[in-house]
Amino acid sequence: MGKVFENARDAIDGLVNDGTTLMAGGFGLCGVPGALIEAVKETGARNLTVISNNAGVDGVGLGILLETRQIRKMISSYVGENKRFAQQYLSGELELEFNPQGTLAERIRAGGAGVPAFYTRTGVGTVIAEGKEVREFGGEKYLMELGLRADVSLVHAWKADTEGNLVFRKAARNFNPIMATAGGVTVVQVEHLLEPGALDPDSIHTPGIYVDRIVHVPNVAKHIEQRTVRKRPNA
C-alpha cells in the first residue's frame, strides 16, 4: 500500500512499455536517476521517448538506453558528450528535438502546473521559432511554447521520507523537482530514506503529493564529467 518499493525493478514494474514517454532528471551526470534507468533497460521496452536535458555519456546514465537502442526520440537541450548518440542520430534511428534549456525547464514546470502554454522571448528569430506562434506583448516578440508531461518521471533525490517528501543535494537538484511534478507516475531513487518527521517541513523541495514510488539506493554511483581542481596550497 505504501510508496516504498524493495528495489528499482519493482519500482518500475508495469510502468514502462514500448512507446512510453519518460522524463529523467539530471544535468550532465549530476543527479541522474541511474538505478531507475538500469531498471528501464531491464524492461526491454523499446521506442521510448525520453525527455532529459542531456543524454548521458557512453555507458553511463541515458547512455545505457542508447546502447540498447531502446530510445526512439530524445527531447533535450544539449547532447554533446555521447558518441553513440551521434551515430544513431546520423543514421536516422534516433529522433531529436532540441529545446533551449530554460524553455525545456519551463515547459516541464508548466506541464506539472496545469499551464498548457506560455510565452517566452527565448528563441525569437532562431530556428527554435519555426512553426511556433510569435506574439507581441508590450512591443516585444515572444514565442508560444507548450507545457510538457510524461507518462513516467524518473527522479534522483538525496533524502526522502516514506510519505515521498523529497530533499535534493546541491546542484544535483536541477531538473529533478520539476520532473517530479510532470509525470503521470513519478518514481524516485533516494540516497537516504527516512521516517516522516525527519525532514524540516520548511526545507522540503518536493512535497510527497508528487511522488508515487520510492526506492532506496544507498550507495549510488556518482560520476564526474569534468574533474577540475586547483593545487592545495602548502601548509
Binding site: 544535468f27 550532465g28 551526470l29 549530476c30 543527479g31 536535458n53 533535450s76 537541450s77 544539449y78 547532447v79 554533446g80 551521434a86 542520430y89 546520423l90 532540441f98 533551449p100 534549456q101 530554460g102 524553455t103 525545456l104 525547464a105 519551463e106 516541464i108 514546470r109 517566452t120 522571448r121 527565448t122 528563441g123 525569437v124 528569430g125 532562431t126 530556428v127 527554435i128 535534493f168 543535494r169 546541491k170 546542484a171 544535483a172 537538484r173 536541477n174 531538473f175 529533478n176 523537482p177 520539476i178 523541495h205 556518482k222 560520476h223 564526474i224 564529467e225 569534468q226 574533474r227 577540475t228 581542481v229 586547483r230 593545487k231 592545495r232
Partner: protein, 216 residues
C-alpha cells in the same frame, strides 16, 4: 599587438561593478574571474542551478554534486544558494542577471549572435545559450576577431542564430565594439588594442562600424 586571451578577459572584467550578478560562458569567459578587482563582490550564476560559484576545489575535495554548467567540479561560497532548473531560468528569463559574458562564432552589426551550431559538425544543442542571451540584461561577447574562415563581425550572421539583436558589446583581440541593439544597425568601435591599427581592424571586419575611440 593584439590582446591575448587573458587581456581580452581582463578588458571584459572592467565592465564588472560591485554587486553585479553575472553568468559566464565557457572558453575565454571562464578567465574573467581572475581579473575581478580585489574587494569587488560579484556573484556568479551557473544555469544548472547555483548562485555564488566558488573556484575549482582542491585536489581530492571534488564533489560530484557541485558542478557548473560546463559540468566542471567547483566549490561553494558562504553566499551560495541552489535551486531547480526552472527557478534558474526564471532568474535568467526574468532579467535578474545583470551581465552575461560569452563566446561567439559570429556577431552581426545589429547584435545578432551565432554561437551554438558549427557548420559541418554535428549539432550538439544550444543548452542554455538562447535563454541567456534573450533574458540577461547586458550581453558581452568575448572572442578572437577572426576565425580561420574569415571575419566574425559581420553584416549578417550566416550561421544559425542563438538570438536576434541580443549583443551589447564585443571584445576581441583587436578592440572593443558597442552595439545599439534597438537603434542603428551599425557597430561602434570604442577601443583599439595597443599597437593595433585601425586599418587592420577595418580589413578584418565585415560589419559596418562607426569609430568613437577616446582620444581620437
Amino acid at each position: 599587438m593584439p590582446w591575448t586571451r587573458d587581456q581580452i578577459a581582463a578588458r571584459a572584467a572592467k565592465e564588472l561593478r560591485e554587486g553585479l550578478y553575472v553568468n559566464l560562458g565557457i572558453g575565454i569567459p571562464t578567465l574573467v574571474p581572475n581579473f575581478i578587482p580585489a574587494g569587488m563582490k560579484v556573484q556568479l550564476q551557473s544555469e544548472n542551478g547555483m548562485l555564488g560559484m566558488g573556484p575549482f576545489p582542491y585536489e581530492g575535495d571534488e564533489d560530484a554534486d557541485v558542478i557548473n554548467a560546463g559540468k566542471q567540479t567547483i566549490t561553494e561560497l558562504p553566499t551560495t544558494s541552489y535551486f531547480s532548473s526552472a527557478e534558474s531560468f526564471a532568474m535568467i528569463r526574468g532579467g535578474h542577471i545583470d551581465l552575461s559574458i560569452l563566446g561567439a562564432l559570429q556577431v552581426a552589426q545589429n547584435g545578432d549572435l551565432a554561437n551554438w551550431a558549427i557548420p559541418g559538425k554535428i549539432v550538439k544543442g544550444m543548452g542554455g545559450a538562447m535563454d541567456l542571451v534573450a533574458g540577461v540584461r547586458k550581453v558581452i561577447v568575448v572572442m578572437e576577431h577572426v576565425s580561420k574562415d574569415g571575419p566574425k563581425l559581420l553584416r549578417d550572421c550566416g550561421l544559425p542564430l542563438t538570438g536576434s539583436r541580443v549583443v551589447d558589446m564585443v571584445i576581441t583581440d583587436l578592440g572593443v565594439f558597442q552595439i545599439d541593439k534597438i537603434g542603428s544597425n551599425v557597430m561602434r568601435l570604442v577601443e583599439i588594442a595597443d599597437g593595433v591599427t585601425l586599418d587592420e581592424i577595418k580589413s578584418k571586419t565585415e560589419a559596418t562600424f562607426d569609430i568613437r575611440v577616446a582620444g581620437n
